[in-house]
Amino acid sequence: METFRGQALSWGLKDGVVELALHREPNNELGSMALAEAEKFVNSLEQVGEVAHALIIYSKLPSGFSAGADLRELYQRSQNVPRAQAVRIVRDQLERTHRVMNAIDASPLTTIAAVHGIVFGGGFELALVCDLIIADKTARFCFPELRLGLIPGWGGIPRLKRDLGNAVVRDLLLTGRSFNATKLQQAGLASQVVGEGEALRVARATAVQLGKFDHHTAAAAKKFIKPIPYDELRREIDLFCELFTHPTVDAGLRKFVESTDAQPYLP
């Protein structure tokens, strides 16, 4: 795997561990640029073969792992076009994003999200595709999509449902409140909670441990225990696109984009 340095993402391979870094200012909002680079990353990941056993995804930005989808871009792209065309644009983005998420989810490598700060919306969904979440104590996890009149669109609900009890999924989804790292660990999602600024170091130490096992056995174990809910993921895309046609979405996006509220990230 060749080292890559993009505008939103960078990656490289060292000692059997692929590291994917997010670094788009201000808060790793994930838009079309990040998606194009993520597609390139997934293609590289599929070629990595026997030389790697683990993948670590982390953020280089102090504010956190990711604020999720780039809502400003989503809003701008949905303006000045007929609604049906806007829905087609959104569906295309969702299909491409799901292909990336599914590829990481199904990767034979053991995958670790090393997170801190905000882990919101699409950022949370990216962490959820990973096999392990290592959270520093500053991490906060949230699905705020309902306030936009939407549901999480990048696999959030099916993957939460895969890993958690339905009551916790409802709490996260229907209240839009955020969980701290300790709460997420108590719920069963975070495998480790570590000190401030320690998530990447601990993820690297964990990756060294993973390298001691036979790669084929680890990949077989992962495939056995971690089914990918393809049917529900497909239905999630359909529901998201259906909801996107409602006027509440346009109003919700506009309110966020034009907000001068001091608390736009609070649900």
Binding site: N180, Q263, Y265
Partner: protein, 80 residues
């Protein structure tokens, strides 16, 4: 369990230390967005630190519209 004044004092100390503002410049009725110069993401960081410090769970929607330390202390006290 700390009383309300103790809770308020601990919040002011914690905010001063985290955002590097002299403690004596913080007053209970200050707008913490202005006094600390913080945005909504930093407010979430403050919330996380409050939850860890007081070992409580404080849903962020309870902070909607809260902008002064005294009301914040009231929300925290209700969870102790």
């Amino acid at each position: 369990m700390p009383n309300f004044d103790q809770t308020l004092d601990e919040i002011l100390n914690l905010a001063a230390a985290q955002f590097k503002v002299p403690r004596e410049k913080l007053a209970p009725d200050d707008d913490f967005f202005k006094t600390l110069g913080i945005d909504s993401l930093q407010t979430l960081d403050l919330l996380t630190r409050l939850e860890h410090h007081f070992r409580i769970e404080l849903p962020d929607y309870e902070l909607q519209g809260v902008s002064d330390f005294r009301t914040l202390a009231d929300r925290v006290q209700a969870r102790l």
